[in-house]
Symmetry: C2
């Protein structure tokens, strides 16, 4: 590990983050909401800290980054970004303690959307814009964005890209990495602009349209309203946001192919098909369950069921209905959606559909082998054989996911959470969802959680966003050996 | 599949089960409890049904059984055994509906210990003896017992043995199968006799001592008292039963080796060491959690914590304390114990310690590979490399276990159970534990569960007892192809 050397890259990213604070500063100038000074101080601290890291002595040229170094850079960068991103919340007075601000910031960048703010509408507009913006930056990946804009990072940047956008079956959009990063961000920006326009058309004001778009597209889930999307009580807005949550839950390379004319790609890609069928199937199951018990008309039941199922399975976390009041079956489905998650290569979290599919095929193969002991069968996805090392990596990921869920649930329970809250808060943070059940249900938030649990849950969010390996590797003693 | 041919074997097993009803019949004669007639009728129906299957036309000689056929025989036999074992409960009037009797019977044979009986002390002694006896028979395996006693089944019996006592890393006690079966049963009987004596010494009467032994050794958990072991309120009895639960949770081949003079084998065997350390570690964690909050002295806290942790992790399910009144941390531990389970080759259920260990090593290997991409590392247990196909089978098992847990939880929730009851009832039945949380908590039972859920949970118990593959294989369309 060439720590001195690599800290330069982290420095650049932090400077980059500091400059992103221009947007809330402009917002504060427009609305004169009184947060200007705290934002300027935050930006100053961030840019200066990044600059110190950058100009500190060390080799200047970065010609090669190993996989191990790439992971270390990304894991450390994201922790730093969480730290500096928290400054506006802390200095702006939106969060009472720094751990709260850090939790809120990490929840933003990782697109989780769990909040410790009890009165969101009492926070200034510029701070809320920052809160939305960090989700948008975190969704597609702040390092990917840097790669697109700062070409000198491109050298060795593949390792950074792979660590920040881990995908079990990597897509090659373009042979050149900076081109891939540009394509992803262009698609992301285009779809975001479409959502802003459609929300404006539905009567939402410009500020809220932008903020909600900034948190829909990364499947983040922060809202500018205390009662989340339920505030608008508009079927049009519900369905617009629903559609964009679904789009955000689809692999972005498919969007690119779609835009290039492959119109049936959503159906031809087996993961996307599985994801869409899952959304439809679970929506129907929940609709019939809550129809007659919670809602009187099938239309209403469908509207709330579809929104809530899609909001959780895409790991967005917006709310239009209190699912803790729903029957047991619907609650079980909502809880399970927290684990499934969206597609690989999307902005969603969770285990990801492709891994669930591979695990299912893995089990089928085992059963097949018992019936035909002498046969050799392979696991296929989209017609291609999944190589052995990818299969092992996926099964290892799923096992680690469950193991971390279990161990962290025990840990937060030891800090005083009840069983349901412990299990669902960890599931929610690890899957980058937002709400859970019990004390962290859709009508509550994470304010009342003990400080220790907030630190641990922040770490869970990072684990979930960077897909475990990038973060967990830092805990391996082997990693630190020369 | 040579169905005609194989039904003979099932016939023999059913006849065998019928003759086991001699014991409750003798008990009924001794206590004159009025259940004699219903027991005689049950025995008659069972023996005659078995005989009809046996004498039906078909080839007489059974010279070879394939793995596939072995699994089919065991899965079908266990279902039949559940059916015929239910007759005394149904005809004796202990269960109002046949599904209740079937649930109770399967819960017995699979050593689950979940009950639908609300007033156990109101049931006749002979029926309760049957209820305990079927746990004892199911614990070591009724087919294994048949193999030990009926040598003509030995031909091709290896496939039956492997299907009934599935073990990720099979132990070879003796090159001859019937000898292995005899050794296992002799060890089982010896330890059982020791427990009866120790319980008698503690002041429990002979009948209760025998019944509780018959349900401790198979990690079953049926009691003859409404309040389970809490009824005796005796530290001596608690600790005696605790020790025998631990013994029952250890691989029986280790007991055999211990008896042959290998005194340190419990510590040398890595799974056994893991299991014992887990029991100690979790007991201490729970003790400190409930000390001061539920119990005033550390001694009391340790007594109840150790009993309950061991009762659940060995999948016995006895109760001395209502763990639903414990703090969240202890509840989370109890719930997780339901999944961990005891050692492979023991009478306990759950995922089994060895599989948890292998999964952990599997994940470690993946992380190691990320750090040293060009290295080749293997998973080892007890110093031996775990072969690839065993590793795949274990990872497949764990994934299937979780998948079945998830799907069955959804299904029972759809039948009207609330979320906590749905998840924990399935976890409890799949792990062959006994109690769960919520409506199936330690102070409640399964009586109020809808009929559909009782059928499904009975199937879960069979899945758990036969370690999934043996049962799930029957659902594969591939299995039924010529």
């Amino acid at each position: 590990m060439r720590c001195r050397h690599l800290s330069k890259i982290i420095g650049i990213l932090i400077i980059f983050l500091g400059f992103a604070m221009i947007f809330p500063i402009l917002c504060s100038l427009v609305y004169k909401d009184g947060s200007l000074l705290s934002l300027l101080i935050s930006m100053g601290i961030t840019v200066v800290s990044g600059a110190v890291l950058y100009i500190a002595p060390g080799e200047a040229s970065i010609d090669y980054i190993s996989q191990k170094e790439g992971m270390a850079i990304v894991a450390v960068s994201w922790t730093c970004i969480g730290f500096f991103g928290a400054l506006p919340f802390y200095l702006g007075g939106a969060c009472p303690a720094f751990v709260d601000a850090f939790f809120e910031s990490v929840s933003g960048f990782t697109t989780t959307g769990s909040s410790i703010m009890t009165d969101i509408e009492g926070i200034t507009k510029s701070i809320l814009l920052w809160r939305s913006l960090i989700q948008w930056l975190g969704g597609m990946g702040i390092i990917v964005l840097s790669l697109a804009i700062l070409p000198f990072l491109g050298v060795g940047g593949m390792q950074l890209f792979k660590a920040e956008v881990p995908s079990p079956v990597p897509d090659k959009l373009s042979p050149r990495l900076t081109d891939s990063a540009k394509i992803l961000w262009l698609v992301y920006i285009s779809i975001s602009m479409a959502e802003v326009l459609l929300l404006l058309f539905g009567g939402m004001d410009l500020y809220d349209s932008i903020c909600h778009t900034l948190t829909t597209m990364p499947t983040g889930g922060f809202s500018t309203k205390n009662s989340s999307i339920a505030h608008y009580d508009s079927a049009y807005i519900d369905y617009v946001i629903l559609i964009f949550m679904v789009l955000a839950g689809i692999n972005f390379s498919l969007h690119y192919q779609m835009l290039r004319g492959k119109t049936l790609i959503f159906w031809r890609d087996s993961e996307c098909r599985f994801f869409l069928l899952l959304c439809i199937g679970l929506t129907l199951a929940v609709s019939f369950d809550i129809y007659g018990t919670v809602y009187d008309t099938l239309g209403e039941a469908f509207r709330y069921a579809s929104f809530q199922v899609v909001s959780i399975i895409t790991t967005t976390g917006y709310g239009t209905s209190d699912y803790e009041q729903w029957p047991g079956f619907s609650q079980v489905i909502i809880f399970l959606c927290m684990f499934i998650g969206a597609s690989a290569g999307s902005t969603g979290g969770g285990m990801k559909c492709v891994r669930i599919m591979v695990a299912f095929k893995y089990c089928s193969r085992e059963v097949f082998t018992l019936i035909h002991p002498s046969s050799v069968s392979q696991v296929k996805m989209n017609g291609n054989v999944v190589p052995g090392h990818v299969l092992r990596s996926i099964m290892g990921f799923l096992t680690l996911y469950v193991a971390i869920f279990v161990i962290c649930s025990m840990a937060v329970a030891a800090m005083g959470l009840d069983m349901v809250t412990a299990f669902t808060s960890v599931a929610s943070c690890l899957g980058n969802i937002g709400p859970g059940f019990g004390d962290v249900g859709p009508t509550e938030n994470f304010a009342s959680i003990p400080y220790g649990a907030k630190w641990l849950l922040s770490w869970c969010m990072l684990l979930g966003r960077l897909e475990i390996y990038t973060v967990i590797i830092l805990l391996a003693p082997e990693f630190w050996k020369k």
